[in-house]
Amino acid sequence: MTPLEILVAAVTGTPASRIPIFCNLLDQGARELGMSQQAYYANGEHVAAGQLKMRERYGQDNVWSLFYVGKEAELLGCNEILFSEDGPPNVGDFVIKTYDDIAKLEVPDDLTAHPAWTETAKCLKILTDEVGATHPVCAYLTASTTLPALLMGMDKWMELLLTGPADVRDELLRKCSDFYQKEVAAYRTAGANVLVYSTPFGSTSFVGMKRFKEFSMPWMQRDLAPGGVGSIVYYCGMAPFNNVIQQVLDELKIGVYYISPLADLAEAKAIIGTRGLTCGVIDDISLIDWTPQQTAAEVKRMCEIGMVGEHFLFGTGVMPLDVPEANIKAMLATAFEYGKYTGGSS
């Protein structure tokens, strides 16, 4: 079976030899090609080459079309990205500095015609040509309720959300939701087959349950309605969200859940059961300091919890550059060893 077939089997609960194994290596690609982050991310061919080389080196199932999270801000007018050799690029200048800028914010009619999309398209073309038929090709899309943080900063967004004028807030959310709808369509057309829906406000670590129901849920429904939830992964950054999985299953019908390392994996698995795919996510900050033996023990523990009843994927967050290569190898070797279904899945 190809990694893509293994992923589909895990989602649908059909027999497979093993679980899908994801490892999200992004900035490591520049190191892999021996170039600076800025040079690496300037060209979609570099990013695709980095992804393919890292998949070859480590053997994980997935590749990524994501450059850095600020790419979405660039599509909405951000002209300054802060690059670092130690970690991910950051939005260097916010598009929205005053509430007046919200009225001026324009969602491009055709995202794919935007210069900031060009390199992403180039990267996706290479990845889909090379491995798209056999491997998961991931894309990262920020929910309407979270995208404002990239456009105006999280504190200004919190201020607008919690104390600002409702009409201004809703205008911004509408634009961000429109953007999401266009973006997800563009990624689907370009061949991405795993669409990570980043929605931290879909966790009650960000807003309370009342606001989750009255604010986050309706906007998520608006984001997802036109394109549907096929290939969508519910992801709240690293924030736990076990307490809303039932509602998300019922109301959004999303089938894949990327569980926080801070959450109880067994509890998440029990809630989701066979109705979707539970993704166990290793704590990749601790992975920086663990030994390979500690790493392997944690992967084994997660597999033992998650593989009961199948419908399980092993994954990572966005791996920090400081995670030692020995730990990446130990993690993946253990996942492949303990992620096997003996005699095929039942």
Binding site: G87, G153, M158, E159, T204, F206, P261
Partner: protein, 226 residues
């Protein structure tokens, strides 16, 4: 009457209802309560109550932290204008996000709480070089340097808290300033603050106020280090 005011104010803060909190304060002022009493008997105990509640409440969330700090800071700021005598400042803090980091929410929550707790806070902004943290701490005669970092590389890299510690060592300033850190990476690894050379950390912005006040007192010699 005081008990009823405290109860109503605490409920408003817990529900992140700024308008309701201000309504309680304004009604208390109209009833003849002094601004000093509002700050010291209502606002500061409410921040302390909130610190305790947030720690215990599994549903406590970022929005609640943010609003607790904002309401407390805004009420305090307005009340200070009505004080008969300027209040005694507990101490001084310089705060900013580490070099390469533009995430400002955590910093803002900490600042709001510190202001309400009568700590003088200087906001150095985002993407702050390590040298600036130290230079500004000296210039403002601060007791504590607070470095916020939301990403692993800005928390652990050579341009953030680690470098601040190094500068303090090089300049012989370690007894004069305490160094605190905060941000997401420290929540995943509770010992990480030691790795980067900090004297303390807090799991959230609200509780950071308490940690920082303890460190201010330690620098001032008001309490012995534990």
């Amino acid at each position: 009457m005081l008990d009823a005011i405290i109860k109503a104010y605490n409920e408003a803060v817990f529900e992140t209802d700024k308008a309701a909190a201000f309504a309680v304060v304004n009604a208390a002022l109209a009833d003849g309560m002094k601004a000093e009493e509002i700050v010291f008997k209502v606002v500061i105990p409410a921040v302390e109550e909130m610190m305790s509640n947030i720690t215990k409440d599994p549903d406590a969330n970022l929005a609640q932290h943010f609003m607790t700090a904002q309401i407390a800071a805004e009420v305090t700021e307005k009340m200070l204008l009505k004080f008969e005598h300027p209040p005694e400042i507990i101490g001084r803090v310089v705060i900013g996000t580490a070099r390469g980091d533009l995430h400002s929410l955590g910093k803002r929550i900490v600042m709001g709480c510190l202001k309400a707790l009568m700590v003088d806070v200087t906001d150095l902004g985002v993407n702050v070089p390590a040298e600036k943290f130290v230079d500004e701490a000296i210039a403002r005669d601060a007791q504590v340097i607070a470095v916020s970092a939301m990403m692993v590389h800005t928390a652990t890299g050579d341009g953030g808290a680690r470098r601040v510690r190094q500068i303090l060592q090089e300049r012989g300033l370690e007894k004069r300033f305490k160094l605190v850190v905060g941000g997401a990476p420290y929540r995943f690894d509770n010992e990480l603050y030691k790795t980067v050379g900090a004297d303390g950390w807090a799991s959230d912005g609200v509780n950071a106020g308490r940690i920082i006040i303890d460190l201010i007192k330690e620098v001032k010699g008001e309490v012995m280090p534990s």
